[in-house]
């Protein structure tokens, strides 16, 4: 699955996107896996209340299932306009 990072999530992790091979059932499970990888991931996912997630380019929730999802994106609250 493609995992994308934007804004300071991208900066903390140090890359804009990567391929992740995972059996995680939900977004929260995927986050646990990523956190366990390295400090930079742990730092990026430290405070979930400061994060948003999109599944296949639609805003979603941390408890959403990942089945069938091809693209997951993590980013801070949006500041457009």
């Amino acid at each position: 699955m493609d995992v994308l990072y934007f804004a300071w999530v991208r900066e903390r992790i140090g890359l804009p996107r990567e391929q992740v091979d995972t059996q995680a059932a939900t977004v929260a499970d995927l986050i646990e896996e990523l956190r366990a990888r390295e400090d930079r991931y742990a730092a990026a996912f430290e405070d979930l209340s400061a994060l948003r997630v999109a599944l296949d380019q639609d805003l979603s929730d941390f408890d959403a299932p990942l089945k069938g999802v091809r693209e997951v994106a993590f980013f801070p609250p949006m500041t457009g306009g």
Binding site: L4, F6, A7, Q57, F75, P77, M78, G81
Partner: protein, 147 residues
């Protein structure tokens, strides 16, 4: 409906004129234009806007579609820039055309409120001695409860 996500500047005058020209059977045309303001202290050298290509266009179209179901609208235009912008440059604009002014105003405000907090853009401020991501404001999230 037209949605444009672009790094290039847009011509507000030409866009407003052509939008109004295409909607002469509507009684009311509203435009909103967002401008890069200098930060407190006056030392902003630039703003960088990151976005999520693909999702951005979809998210904006969804917001505009929702506006069209809530109000009687003839047309909607959204232009949003990304990349590097300097103080005084225009970040984005929306335009709405409706038979009546109330619909045109409310739809434009709705579009703005949702673009602020639900379209995947992130702003970074660059000053002489600091670079930092703009934090989302509670008041922008609260603005959504109005709708």
């Amino acid at each position: 409906m037209r949605v444009a996500v672009q790094s290039a500047p847009f011509d507000l005058g030409a866009e407003a004129e052509s939008f109004a020209k295409g909607n002469t059977r509507m009684g009311a045309v509203v435009t909103f234009t967002g401008v890069v303001r200098d930060v407190e202290g006056g030392d902003l050298s630039a703003m960088e806007i990151e976005h999520y290509p693909g999702m951005t266009e979809k998210a904006i179209a969804k917001i505009a579609d929702e506006a069209a179901t809530r109000w009687s609208l003839g047309d909607v235009l959204v232009i949003h820039r990304h990349g590097r912008l300097e103080p005084g440059e225009r970040i984005m604009m929306v335009a709405t055309a409706a038979p009546h002014r109330k619909d045109a105003f409310e739809a434009a405000e709705y579009l703005m409120d949702y673009l602020k907090s639900r379209a995947p853009f992130w702003k970074k401020e660059i000053t002489a001695d600091h670079t930092g991501w703009v934090a989302a404001k509670d008041e922008d999230e609260d603005a959504l409860t109005r709708w």
